[in-house]
Symmetry: C2
Subunit: 403 residues, 2 copies
């Protein structure tokens, strides 16, 4: 008989990445893409990596290529602990295969089928994809330019006697919106979470990429026992190594470690040693300011181009394109005039050789179809100018047809 592969219920719930499908239509030679979340490759410290690979293989090749502890490479765990702005015991640090893996591990440990979990509006799509296989009920909490609406959080914490398992937040230069949670909002959120007993999963891949001043203290620093903190080397070194980490309270660490071991035994020991070597001598304190300056200049270029090109009717956001001005990170969030859909706009933009990501896939529920995400870090300033003009032209043509 022909083979019947009966798939798990969760497999049916997993949908192809909408962004992945979207990016297929944007995969066209010569296109200017604001779509991907790719760090600028000119920031990758290639000579430092080459030197570190040679040193690690020359001095420690046998250990670097052997199986290793699931917790991660000791010196790298120490470096991570020392880099964080609160007192962290290196024993609470778990090195992961990119910070995406943190989401997978947390989902396995904290989500049962039907568990209530809370997310921002909108939220990081990769988190929704990592949580979905564990079959939670994902609930969006109202959010504004400063982050989570604390009153709505309290209202949505519990339903039918079922408390939320956790709140997932990305407070610094969020993906997709670029927004940052203010100090006042962090203080209120941290107090509310402790009051109602709501654990927080804090994701911070972009926190080092600030332009004028560092963001406020992480939520985890305010209540380490009530939070799991996720960090990444993808934006300060390079994503191709797949190195991230989490910091977990003692109550959770052993189970996260077991999940890590079952998932891939350990993160590549070679990569961990190479990164640890590159980080020696406070490398990031010299390297990251260069990334900040570059990304800030590109954000500025995009803001100038948007102001110059986009159709705006003062005082009437429904007849305007609107956008925010992120204080760091890689993304900017824009909104089309009323009755327009970013998903429908995309193929027309691609016809004019420019691409973006529609905002809808980033919403757990009640998506705003007018929203879109623009990355300002992958394209050059010259491309930003050409691309934003092409996008504005696309929008103007669509507005004429609508009218």
């Amino acid at each position: 008989m022909s083979m019947q592969w009966k798939q798990a219920r969760r497999a049916e719930k997993m949908n192809p990445s909408v962004i992945r499908e979207i990016l297929k239509v944007t995969d066209k030679p010569g296109i200017i893409s604001f779509a991907g979340g790719l760090p600028s490759p000119q920031t990758f410290p290639i000579p430092e990596f080459a030197a570190a690979c040679a040193k690690v293989l020359g001095e420690d090749g046998k250990a670097a290529l052997q199986y290793a502890a699931s917790e991660g490479f000791g010196p790298l765990r120490e470096q991570v602990a020392a880099s964080l702005p609160w007192k962290v015991d290196a024993n609470q640090v778990l090195i992961t295969t990119g910070s995406q893996q943190c989401l997978d591990l947390v989902a396995k440990i904290l989500i049962d089928e039907g568990s209530r979990i809370l997310v921002e509006t909108p939220t990081y799509l990769g988190a929704l994809q990592a949580f979905t296989p564990m079959e939670p009920e994902v609930v969006s909490v109202k959010s504004d330019d400063e982050g989570i609406d604390v009153a709505d959080l309290k209202a949505k914490f519990s339903k039918d006697g079922k408390d939320a398992r956790f709140l997932y937040v990305l407070p610094n230069f969020q993906n997709p919106t670029g927004r940052t949670m203010s100090e006042a909002r962090r203080a209120a959120l941290s107090a509310a979470a402790q009051e109602i007993g709501l654990p927080i999963i804090e994701d911070n891949p972009y926190g080092e990429l600030w332009f004028d001043q560092p963001p406020p203290l992480p939520l985890t620093a305010r209540n380490p026992d009530g939070c799991v903190y996720h960090g990444s080397f993808s934006k300060v070194l390079a994503p191709g190594l797949r190195l991230g980490f989490l910091v977990a309270p003692k109550a959770l660490y052993p189970k996260l470690l077991q999940a890590k071991q079952a998932a891939d035994l350990h993160t590549p020991s070679f990569n961990q040693r190479v990164a640890s070597e590159v980080l020696q001598g406070d490398f990031l304190s010299r390297h990251v300011p260069m990334i900040r300056a570059l990304y800030k200049s590109q954000r500025d270029a995009m803001l100038v181009a948007l102001a110059r090109e986009m159709p705006v009717t003062p005082g009437n956001p429904d007849k305007s394109v609107t956008w925010n001005s992120p204080d760091g990170g890689m993304f900017l969030w824009a909104r089309l005039p009323a009755d327009m859909s970013a998903v429908e706009l995309l193929p027309k933009a691609v016809d004019k050789n420019v691409a973006f990501v529609p905002g809808s896939p980033f919403y757990a529920d009640n998506a705003d179809p007018r929203t879109l995400r623009l990355s300002f870090v992958t394209a050059s300033v010259a491309q930003i100018n050409i691309g934003i003009k092409a996008l504005a032209d696309t929008i103007k043509e669509a507005m004429v047809k609508e009218a």
Copy 2:
């Protein structure tokens, strides 16, 4: 209030790795360890890796350090497809973060809570750990020196109207037993699986490590649409890169790919390019024979030492230590005299500076407490001679006390 971390039900089912706990007692300076499953580091091609790292970073650094496709690096997928002994479309190859990750992805896609899955007796512990979080009912199928008992497989395929989702098998130089499934057994198993419609997950990390002749054709080669095949570079190149792969039928590949993307976005692009570079020019055809010769000489040394040292009462396995003679791989399987327990023996052996892994954790049910696993690849021949004598002395002393 103090933070209440409510964990998922699956977290409670996940137990600390028994082996991990066992290895803690064996972590003692100067101990001769037959416990770990560590490839001999003298087989790692360090100069080739160093040259490949320099070349990849020099010629392609920006791409090698950037985000990449979840499917894996195209040329490496082609190299994998070309290396397998049946016609494989590279589009059906998914590069994974070690072959351990294949188990995690398969578990997510194929196991619901309570799903019946079948395994060998005993089976690879890491597979049990990867399957457990998805909460299956794991059922052991009787197995002998040639592998799975096909009659018992048919008997256990279905219960209460619930068919098994899959059979997990490791046919070549199995971990933990070192045994290899014979050609006749493979033919019978493949026919039976197709007859009853039972999918097979075939794990083959050790297949290249044969001593005198290659093992019979994989089960997947006999029925590619009914099998997922897992392979690894850990034993032919080095484990510290965490590079594995799976080959899946078209019916399953898209869901496995989505699970991969959610798990860690992609396997490190740098590592994939470095491995692909090392593999150029048919490197493995020169490199692997050296590993085979080394491991064969170490197996031979262990067999000689066992025959010389171990207490044996001819014709009476209950008053003897017995062991097998694997045709390849890294492990040998031994059994203590009646009424002895390998778990209880271990601390006594550690007192004599020798370590092994008790067999019990490798059984999904009805463990045989007399069994133990001996790795012959990590210790040198001189250490094997000393260690096997120390182990034999430990057993003889325990036998005297028993008597």
